[in-house]
């Protein structure tokens, strides 16, 4: 194992200076997620337009570098994505974290893929996988405007 795989530059950068970390002023969908094991929390706000496209996305939360970086990178990538694309990207990311060596989706450009692949280091740290996936599960819940908290205990 190598810590450099886990704490890559991109992760440290997004962890320290998370993008889109604010409460959205004009959201129409949202959901909260938390990890009871460590107390990490995330609240995702979405503005989804009439064409089912995310026109604005933001998040509030606190947590470790991995969870903050994951939420930061994810919110950057999801802007202007349609609902079907969001679903495809979430599934692709979760499969990659679980088992796939690469991302399969063709929606993302090479630069975006590289950015997202920086989170793949958590594969070697089973206890930290949920740190990386919490925001993604919560995004799925936000698309459904879920009232209940998304609890990482319920993830596969």
């Amino acid at each position: 194992m190598d810590l450099k795989d886990l704490y890559q530059e991109i992760i440290l950068d997004h962890g320290k200076n998370p993008r889109n970390l604010k409460k959205s002023d004009n959201f129409n969908k949202d959901a909260k997620g938390h990890n009871p094991l460590c107390g990490d929390k995330v609240h995702i706000y979405l503005k989804v337009d009439e064409n089912n496209k995310i026109s604005d996305i933001a998040f509030e939360g606190s947590g470790c570098a991995i969870s903050m970086a994951s939420a930061s990178i994810m919110t950057d990538l999801m802007k202007e994505k349609k609902e079907v694309e969001v679903k495809e990207l979430v599934d692709d990311f979760l499969e990659m974290i679980k088992q796939n060596p690469e991302l399969k989706s063709k929606i993302l450009g090479e630069n975006e893929k590289t950015k997202l692949m920086s989170l793949s280091g958590v594969k070697k740290y089973p206890m930290r996988v949920k740190c990386a996936t919490m925001a993604w599960h919560t995004l799925t819940a936000a698309m459904k405007n879920a009232k209940e908290d998304t609890n990482t205990d319920k993830f596969e």
Partner: protein, 405 residues
């Protein structure tokens, strides 16, 4: 006391963990086990196994005697008046649930108050929480001060004529504060209020004398005391065990069972329904002998010296902030590191073989009050050395380096 010899008695330190020497700083979570305890479990299952308290054959009688021997060893270790005041449970959590459930059932009514502290581990809050719904009781929390201590005054301030029981920790698993449990008990008894002490952190590190403390209930977690998992102890004064109803029903705890009704067995069987954690109880006898051999005073001194040393080096490290500075403190060092989340600290330290705990340590009320979602915690045991704390500090500097780039 030669600490290197003591460390040699713990087989876990003979093995590398991910190619590193193990620096185990998570004893407040659970302690490692000396060889004698491991051997005792093996020997019992391979040479002496039988169920206890039921059959009359040779092995059953021998096993029953071994089981009851541990009860007496524990009684003497904590200076309880009577071996029947020692009840084996599946953990300290069950011990507290037993009291909350039976005491609540028998003595609590709507509007009654239970007094806890803000330092409590979830296991000394959640069991009482159920009584809010079932009985309509109120739960109050005595506040901790800026040093992370709960004082006698803080307890006194929160006692009202409605207070029916006080349940407090002996030693905080986050701030390390040792509560004045003897004084609190005296105060409570002057108002006819019984006291339960959560001794999970107290029992492995401090000399215990139940008759001197005078508390009504004291819960112990055996796996934090160099003993096996799956075992706890409830010390309860006989007068309570005699009047409280049974907790669980089943074999072994009854006197007579008829279609029309049931009468319950005498102490301590009344509270030990079903087949108990026999091997664990017998092996825990070895944990007590191990502690007696070194002497709890020597352990206390050793751990106090290490705690002071740990505080010293962490205070010198400008990026580290220690949580709490109680005057009377056990061997717990909780801290935050500027700019690095506790979970990232724990992962990076783990790469060096340094095992600490990160999170809320089952104390969310405490962390909420401090405005922290998580802290890192290094906690000590009899096998730790100054070298372990130096390695902790080195690894913390490595965390800083990674995060500062």
């Amino acid at each position: 006391m030669n600490i290197n010899n003591i460390k040699k008695q713990f087989p876990i330190f003979n093995n590398k963990v991910q190619n590193n020497d193990l620096v185990y700083l998570d004893s407040a979570n659970s302690s490692q086990k000396p060889q004698v305890v491991v051997d005792r479990i093996y020997d019992f299952y391979t040479k002496e196994f039988s169920n206890v308290g039921r059959s009359v054959h040779y092995l059953a009688v021998a096993a029953t005697n071994l089981y009851e021997n541990t009860r007496v060893l524990v009684q003497k270790y904590i200076n309880a008046k009577d071996p029947n005041e020692i009840v084996f449970t599946k953990g300290a959590t069950e011990a507290i649930n037993l009291v909350a459930n039976t005491f609540g059932q028998k003595f609590l009514e709507e509007g009654d108050e239970i007094l806890l502290t803000e330092l409590e581990h979830h296991s000394n809050y959640v069991p009482w929480h159920y009584l809010r719904k079932s009985k309509g009781v109120k739960i109050k929390f005595a506040e901790f001060n800026s040093d992370g201590e709960v004082t006698l005054e803080s307890i006194e301030k929160n006692i009202t004529p409605k207070t029916k029981i006080i349940a407090i920790t002996h030693l905080s698993n986050v701030t390390g504060a040792i509560l004045p449990i003897k004084e609190i008990t005296r105060l409570a008894h002057s108002k006819n209020i019984p006291v339960l002490v959560d001794g999970c952190q107290g029992a492995p590190h401090l000399k215990l004398d139940m008759q001197d403390i005078g508390c009504d209930f004291y819960a112990i977690s055996c796996h934090k005391m160099y003993g096996p998992t799956g075992l706890g102890i409830l010390y309860a004064k006989k007068k309570w065990l005699e009047v409280l109803p049974p907790y669980q029903g089943g074999g072994g705890m009854i006197r007579e069972v008829k279609k029309e009704g049931i009468t319950f067995g005498d102490l301590p069987n009344k509270y030990e329904a079903g087949t108990m954690a026999t091997a664990q109880v017998i092996a825990f006898g070895e944990s007590i002998k191990f502690l007696n051999k070194i002497g709890i005073e020597n352990i206390e001194n050793h751990e106090n010296e290490l705690t002071k040393y740990g505080e010293e080096i962490l205070r010198k490290n400008n990026s580290v902030k220690l949580i709490g500075s109680p005057k009377d403190k056990g061997s717990v060092l909780s801290f935050t590191l500027d700019g690095v989340h506790a979970h990232d600290i724990a992962t990076i330290l783990d790469e060096d073989g340094v095992a600490i705990r990160a999170g809320h340590h089952c104390c969310q009320i405490l962390h909420d009050k401090l405005g922290l979602s998580a802290t890192a915690r290094a906690s000590l045991g009899v096998y730790n050395t100054k070298d372990d704390l130096d390695k902790l500090n080195e690894s913390l500097n490595k965390c800083k380096k990674i995060f500062e780039g």
